[in-house]
Symmetry: C2
Subunit: 242 residues, 2 copies
DNA sequence: CGCCTCTTTGATAAAAGTCAATCAGGGTGG
DNA sequence: CCACCCTGATTGACTTTTATCAAAGAGGCG
């Protein structure tokens, strides 16, 4: 587990955070959000490549991503790895550990990142008095369930080109909601990580990027993507984002 | 939505239910379980083939399966279906709807089934006073997240024979925990449904069953399975159940 | 500059899908 | 009661998709 540092008094808190439109505060009243300032008092910096938590670690907190990108991955006894998600600012990580208070996945930073610590015991205490808080976390967990089900749908029902198109549109949409360009962005993960996530090999991903570029759907140089024809990508993905 | 009927006073309640070892009461004190009797006052019978809920239905309750088997499935705008789970007695269904209080999947009975109704508003009220209840539902949701992640791992990382072996072992284990035979059971779903669930075609499933039978791993007649060599199946599945 | 990792691309092989024919059971109506 | 029909399952032939193996190119960093 990484080192936790108290949030300096003059720093941004939930009530003043730019992410409040998409993070935990989403849909909460201004007054309720100030309660979050009481709850979230620490942050953790996670350098690129370092774990926020690992399988087997005690889960005594959830984490709200403040900046950066992380991935979560399972690993079975044979060493086989499966990436289950790429997480952006405003998203919550760590809900895998709530079953037994032990994490069953790794969370690793894809770039230097910072997360806000949401201690479970204090969350429980506060939830007793603030019903909306409990409701909010239930929503967040349901969202993760639905996200994972969408993932199952993508892996179970789509072909490689559809999966990649849906993946790119999903990235685009989430980055747009953070205020970034929906068409031009940097992929923080390697071809191998994309492939693993989508149940494909890195070669297949590379070939698909080349083909999409040849067909004028996008431009790609290294990890820098420009989506040129969102309509065609949407048509290709078949489904409405994955 | 199906018709709800009050549980007759002389009928089994949570505190006297045989499923209390695996259902919501798991790990709760005897005293806390009696609180569940206050919470769960209705049941719904769902005939084979009928929906318990459908996409778009208002989600105002969770459901504990009392008897029977159900499947949950997503359906996108093109009509493409993806089965996301097969649910047995003692398992909870309906958590997909907690994000917006609207269901985003169908729940359909594979055989005549009965479920206990857990109204969300009463769950909330009770949770205010009974912290363990809140904790319990958080655990159940985390379990569903982890289950879905395992599913992603299976679809993303395993080959067809591994997926089917893992599927059968998973069935076996869950049926065993219900007190049924771990080696001899009836599949309540068609080849097509298994295939859809595992991201394969019904023909592939059929061929795999034939091959497993030829190799002495199991016997299969229609939907009646006998697992003959669990060790080999475990080795084949690679992972420790999916 | 040279090494190292990531990526691209090609040739080939393996896995799974598709199409099609047949078969088996279960239920229904004559 | 039996023939028939309908659905679900099996099996085969063939195609498509994607993985695997291999080689070479590009960029970044010490």
């Amino acid at each position: 587990m990484q080192k936790r540092t108290a949030i300096p008094p003059d720093s941004t808190r939930c009530s003043t955070c730019m992410l409040s439109e998409i993070c935990i505060p989403l849909g909460m009243s201004k007054k309720d959000v100030t309660v979050l300032d009481e709850l979230i008092k620490e942050r953790i910096r996670v350098p690129k490549g370092a774990p926020l938590f690992k399988i087997g670690d005690e889960a005594n907190a959830l984490f709200g991503i403040r900046s950066g990108t992380l991935k979560t991955q399972l690993q079975d006894s044979t060493g086989q790895v499966q990436i289950t998600g790429f997480l952006f600012p405003g998203e919550i990580i760590g809900m895998d550990g709530l079953l037994q208070n032990i994490h069953v996945s790794h969370a690793i930073a894809l770039e230097d990142s910072e997360v806000c610590v949401i201690p479970l015991d204090e969350l429980d205490t506060l939830s007793q008095h603030i019903p909306v808080l409990q409701l909010q976390f239930r929503r967040l967990m349901s969202k993760e369930i639905n996200r994972s089900h969408q993932m199952v749908m993508s892996l179970g029902g789509l072909r490689s080109e559809q999966r990649l198109a849906a993946f790119l549109l999903n990235m685009s949409q989430r980055l747009a909601s953070l205020g970034y360009s929906s068409t031009d962005f940097i992929l923080r993960m390697s071809r191998e990580e994309i492939g693993n996530y989508l149940g494909l090999t890195l070669e297949t991903i590379s070939r698909l990027f080349s083909r999409f570029a040849r067909d004028g759907l996008l431009r790609i140089r290294q990890r820098e993507v420009s989506l040129l024809d969102m309509t065609a990508l949407r048509a290709l993905s078949g489904t409405d984002c994955g």
